[in-house]
């Protein structure tokens, strides 16, 4: 941002025509907003930005640039969360140029000053695009976490026997969550047997097997015994061909078989009424 006489003159001009420019800028932005933000809200946001733009152009203090980007990022994040497209936000910023142009169009001597302003506003508008991406990514990541939470239930099958039906891929993030929920449930219910059902896990490769082994190890540290159920025929073949060893962990074809095993180990028997 080169601060020679040009920018300072632009800053002075903007200061002198504050109300007119902000007013016109507001109008343009409100038109684009289409009622999703109130007129007063828009005016307030733009007033803040305008003051910061003027400060940056006048080169008055070092903090102004930092404050301007912070304010712009805040605005951009808010718009992204409210469902505005990045273009809409950027256009709102760009319309400052239009508002100023309408006033300077007749005075040829302000051309270099106006150019300085447009360069600056273009940078600001582009910046809002970047902030938009970052914000959307954060939202997606938050939603993914929420979905992960919802798809990892731990259920009580019987006194002392709990089950974790896994549905979907078992990656390291999921494994962490499964371990946490499983162990917390062991503590809360005092269970000593956990059945991990993998019927809903599409592929079991070496990585998935490692994750399962880790989960079983963790549960054993809390004194619980584990059975892995839901071994489908194709999965069994893959496991053997990959040379994966489940060691002393019991594995069963179905959840029902695993429950029967757990009941036997608990010294219980199911008899007709």
């Amino acid at each position: 941002m080169d601060v020679d006489g040009t920018s300072e003159r632009m800053a002075a001009y903007l200061r002198d025509h504050h109300d007119k420019v902000v007013g016109r800028w507001s109008e343009l932005v409100v038109a684009g907003v289409r009622g999703r933000t109130s007129r007063e809200e828009v005016r307030r946001e733009l007033e803040d930005l305008y003051t910061l733009v003027v400060r940056v152009l006048s080169g008055a203090d070092d903090h102004a640039a930092g404050e301007l980007t912070a304010a712009l990022d805040e605005l951009s994040r808010g718009r992204a969360r409210d469902g505005f497209t990045p273009s809409e936000t950027a256009l709102g910023v760009f319309s400052l140029k239009e508002a100023v142009y309408e006033l300077v169009a007749d005075s040829a001597e302000l051309v270099p000053e106006y150019l300085a302003l447009t360069r600056m506003v273009d940078d600001l508008g582009l910046r809002t695009f970047e902030t938009y991406s970052v914000t959307r990514e954060q939202i997606i990541s938050d939603q993914a976490t929420a979905m992960l939470e919802l798809s990892t239930p731990v259920v009580r099958l019987w006194d002392g026997i709990i089950a974790v039906p896994l549905v979907g891929t078992l990656d390291s993030a999921r494994t962490q969550l499964v371990m946490e929920k499983l162990l917390d449930t062991l503590v809360a219910t005092g269970a000593d047997h956990a059945v991990i059902d993998i019927t809903g896990v599409p592929t079991v490769d070496t990585e998935v097997a490692q994750h399962l082994l880790k989960t079983v190890s963790a549960a054993r540290l809390l004194g619980a015994e584990c059975t892995i159920s839901g071994i489908r025929p194709q999965v069994a073949q893959t496991i053997v061909s990959l040379g994966i060893e489940f060691g002393d962990i019991a594995t069963k074809a179905t959840l029902a078989d695993a429950l029967a095993l757990a009941l036997r180990q608990a010294g219980l028997k199911v008899v007709p009424a």
Binding site: M179, A218, G223, A224
Partner: protein
Amino acid sequence: MERVPILKIGEILFVSIQIDLQDDTVIRLQEDLADELGATGAHGVLIDITAVEIVDSFIGRMLTTIGSISRLFDAETVLVGMRPAVAITLTELGLSLGGVRTALNAEKGLELLNGKS
């Protein structure tokens, strides 16, 4: 240096770790337990780590060593009350507490030890 107290309840030596373990305290506990096992002929050792927030490699090795020492005295060791966060961390570390059985709490730990004798 703080010392972890060892209680004898019947044939079981009961240790409840309530403090932030310094290496010296850990070594002292190992020695004290060996002494007690020799002196009392206890059949079991129950170590309650419900209050322990961190088990690192040093503490983990102590627990395994205690297990080995107990076995030499024909006693069994059970570790109870491990916190979920600690269990998950230990699993990530790849630490296996070989030779030490685990139970969810002191009650279940005692069941294990008494089942043995």
